[in-house]
Symmetry: C3
Amino acid sequence: VKQVLGRFFEDFAPGEAIRHATPRTVTEGDASLYTALYGSRFAVQSSDAFAKAIGYPRSPLDDLLVFHTVFGKTVPDISLNAVANLGYADGRFLKAVYPGGTLSAVSEVIGLKESSNRQTGVVTVRTTGFDGAGDDGSDLLPLGARPQARPRGRGSAGACAGPAEGGRARGSGRGLPADRGRRLRLTLAGSPHRWGDYAPGERIDHVDGMTVEEAEHQLATRLYQNTARVHFDGHAAAGSRFGRRLIYGGHVISLARALSFNGLANAFHVAAINAGRHVAPLFAGDTVYAWSEIWTGRSCRGGRMSERCDAARRGEKPAVRRLSGTGTGDGYNPAVILDLDYWALIPR
Amino acid sequence: VKQVLGRFFEDFAPGEAIRHATPRTVTEGDASLYTALYGSRFAVQSSDAFAKAIGYPRSPLDDLLVFHTVFGKTVPDISLNAVANLGYADGRFLKAVYPGGTLSAVSEVIGLKESSNRQTGVVTVRTTGFDGAGDDGSDLLPLGARPQARPRGRGSAGACAGPAEGGRARGSGRGLPADRGRRLRLTLAGSPHRWGDYAPGERIDHVDGMTVEEAEHQLATRLYQNTARVHFDGHAAAGSRFGRRLIYGGHVISLARALSFNGLANAFHVAAINAGRHVAPLFAGDTVYAWSEIWTGRSCRGGRMSERCDAARRGEKPAVRRLSGTGTGDGYNPAVILDLDYWALIPR
Amino acid sequence: VKQVLGRFFEDFAPGEAIRHATPRTVTEGDASLYTALYGSRFAVQSSDAFAKAIGYPRSPLDDLLVFHTVFGKTVPDISLNAVANLGYADGRFLKAVYPGGTLSAVSEVIGLKESSNRQTGVVTVRTTGFDGAGDDGSDLLPLGARPQARPRGRGSAGACAGPAEGGRARGSGRGLPADRGRRLRLTLAGSPHRWGDYAPGERIDHVDGMTVEEAEHQLATRLYQNTARVHFDGHAAAGSRFGRRLIYGGHVISLARALSFNGLANAFHVAAINAGRHVAPLFAGDTVYAWSEIWTGRSCRGGRMSERCDAARRGEKPAVRRLSGTGTGDGYNPAVILDLDYWALIPR
C-alpha cells in the first residue's frame, strides 16, 4: 500500500519516536496569510521596526502559526484516524521563529491507555518542533535551544522585558528619553495596560465576533499542510455524525488569540499552552467570540526570555463561546467551544 | 476598561492629533494576497523587471493596498462606532511604497459638525500615512517626503513619464531603439492607448464583472488589520438594519480599480482620490461592474512625479454599479454603489 | 475600443506570434498562497533545506503555479471568447523557477480548423513561458534554456537523480553515510516508495477528497491573473448554460496533483503534461477525488534533468472523479472531470 492510511491504537508503541514528513520553510508569505486569516494586530509580529526597537532582529512569526505548522506535520502519523483531538498539555514556545526558518517535527509516544469499552484508546504524544533543516539530522535543535535567545541584547540583571522596556529600547529609545519612548511604544502597541494593570480573577470580554467561512478554515488548514480529511471532504462529511466539515481546532485558538487583542494588546507573545480542550466543534457559519480571565500572575527578575521560568508572564484563561450551533461540552455552557489555559508575555 | 470600545462624537476635539496603533511592515506576501483578492494586472505592480525598465528600483506595492493599510489603522480610534463612512476628499498618494516598508498613521481632527437632529454628528479627519518605523518618532516622514522620488533617474527637463517613456528606458530601452522599446512596453502593459488617446467626456465600460464572497472580503479586510465588526460579525449583523455583514468600502474601490484595467491598462498609478462616496452598501453574493468617465485631462512638463502637480495625469471618474441588491443612494441609479473621482498616472 | 474584448476564430492567423501582456514576478507570497489553496506537501517545494540538500539553490516554485501563471497571460489574447478549453498536449517543464523570477509568455498559432457546422472553430496554439524580464526582448529565454540546469551539481555520468540521490547529497548527505542520508530524506519526503516500486498498470487511489468553495477558486484564478469572466461573474453565469460560475480547469489539475501526494509523495516534479482533457466542468460545492494509474516507466542514464529525455521519469495518468454534479464527458464515467497524462520525476 503506497498511501498513508493512518495508524490505529494498536499501531503505536510506548516510547516510539516518529519523525514527521515535509519540513516546511516558513516565509513572509505565510505571515501575510496568517494576518489575512485572523486579523491579528500585535505590534511585535506586525512591524519589523517595532520589533527591532525592542531588541528582535525583525518581526517574528506569530507563535500560533509556528504551532499549527508543527502540529500539521503530525497528522498523517498520529491523528488521521483519531475520533477526536482531546486536548493539549504542557506546551512551551521556546524560541522565536523568523521568516526563512525551516520547521520540522518529531513526536514521541508517551502514553497509551485503552478505553473501558475496548473500542477506542487514548494515545498521548509529546511533539517537538524544530527550527532546523532536518535534512540530515545534524542541525535539528529544539526551538529555544539556539544560542541566540528571544529578545536579544538584554542585560542579565535587568527586569523582565516586554515591548515597552526591552533591550536597546530601554533608556534610549533611539535617542528619546526612556519614558517618552515607552509611552510611544505603548501607543503603537494599541494599549496603555501593562503587567501591573491586570489582577488575578479579572475577566475581559473581547467584544468583537468573527464569523467563519468554509473557504477560510480550509485555506488556513492547508497552509499548515494539515490534510486531515474531516476538514476538507464535504461529500464524506455529509454522511458523518455532524453532517458537515469540522473546523480544525487550531483555527479556533488563532481566532480567539486574535480577538483577545482587544483587551490584551500588550500580551505580545504566547509563552505556553498549559492546557487546552476543544469542548465542542466549530462549523462554518458560526460566529466566534472570546473572553479571558486572568488566572495567575507571575513576575520575574533577571534572565532571558528564552528561559521560560524567568520571564514576566501573565497566566490567562481565555475561553471561547460560540453563539450558533449546539455545544456538546459536559459541564460547560453549551456555547463554549474552547477552554485554553495559556501564558502570554506582557511588559511590566 | 481595557478594551477599545471606540469614540463617539463628543469624544473628538478639534485639532486633536491621534497616533494610531500597530505599525505594519508590508511585504511580498501582502502583494500576492492583493493580486489574489482582486486579480489586478497592472504591469508596473506585477513585474520587477518591467518596473526597473522604467526607473523604479523594483515593483511598488499597489497604491490601494497602501491606502487600505493606512485606513485600517484609523478604525479603532475614529470609526468603530460610526454610522457610516461618508466619503473621501483630497487624498494624495505622495510616494511609492515597496515590500519591506513599515506603514504607520496619524489623524488630525479637522472638522466637527453636529447634525440638526442632534443624534449624530460628522467628524472630519485628515489622515497621514507614513512609510517609516514609527517606533520612536524620529523617522516618521509623510509618504512622499523622502528624498528619493517615485520613478527615479528622470531628467528635470524631460516630459512627464509613464511606463513607456520614463527614465533609463527612454532613448535606450536596454539597447533597443527608443520606439521599439516603447512599443514593446505598451504591449507588455496590455494596451496601446496612452494619454493622448483619451478625451474628456469619454466613457469606458470595463466589461467584466466580479461576484464577491464573504470569505474574500473578510480576508482582505483582515489583511488591512481593519477589524470593524460590521464586516465580520454575522451573528450581530443578522439583527442589524441590513441583516448581514457589510463589505468594507475600500474592497469596492479595489475591485473597481482592478476591473478598470480592461480599458485603462496604462493608468498605472493612482495619484489622488479627489473625492469619493460609498453611495450604497455591497453585500456578499453581489456582482460588481465598473465604468469610467474621463473627467479632465491635465498635462505637464518637467519635474518629478513625486511633485504631484507636475505629473501627467488623467482625471477619471469610475463609478461602480451593482447589479444585485437594492441601492439606496439618492440621486444615483439604484445600482450604483461607489462614485469615485480620482487621478491616475498614464504615459503620454 | 479601448477594452480587450477577445478574439474570435476569424481573428487568428496561422503562424502568428502573440506576445502576451503583464509580465509577472513570482514570489514567496505566491508560493504560500499556492500551499493554502491546495495543501500541497511535496518536500522539495516545501523546504529550502530539503531542496538544498539535493542540489537545488533553494525551494523551487510548484511547477503548476508556473504553468497557471503562464497560462493566465494567454487568456485575453486567446481564450476570452472560447466555448471551451479542449485540452493540452506536449507540455514540457524545462526549468525550475524560483521566487523572484519574472514570468512572461508568447503564443504561436499552429492550427486553425473550422468545425463542420461552421459556427465554431478550433484554434491550436503553442505557448512558451519565459523566466525573463520580457521588458526589452533581450533576455527572453525559454524556461529550460538557461545554462544552469535544474538540480545542479550533478556529474555527467551519474544516474538520474531525485530527492534521495542527487547532487551534493549523494555519497555525503552532509557528513552522513549515503544510506542513512537517503533513508532520512525518504522519511522527510513522506514515503519510502521510489521508482522501482511502481509498476506499469498499477492503480493508486489517493484516498482524500477536497470540497471546493467559490472563494477558493476565485482567489486562485486571480492569483494567476487569469480574468476569464466565466470564473468570476456570477450574475452573468446565472443566465448561462450551466447557471453558475465555472471553475478554472487548472484549479482541478492542481487539486489532483496535491491529492496525489498520498501515494506518490516522491513524485517531486512535474516534467511534462503529455495530454490533458477537461472531461466535464467542476462547480463550487463539488468534492474532488483523484487516482493515478502508472502508464509507462522510463529510466535513464547520464545527463542533466533539464534535458528531458534523460531524466528518470514515471509516466502517470491521474484521472479525477467528481462525486457531485453531472458529468458530460463522452466515454468516461459521468463523474470524471479530468483526464491527464503527465510525467513526474521520481527518485530511483
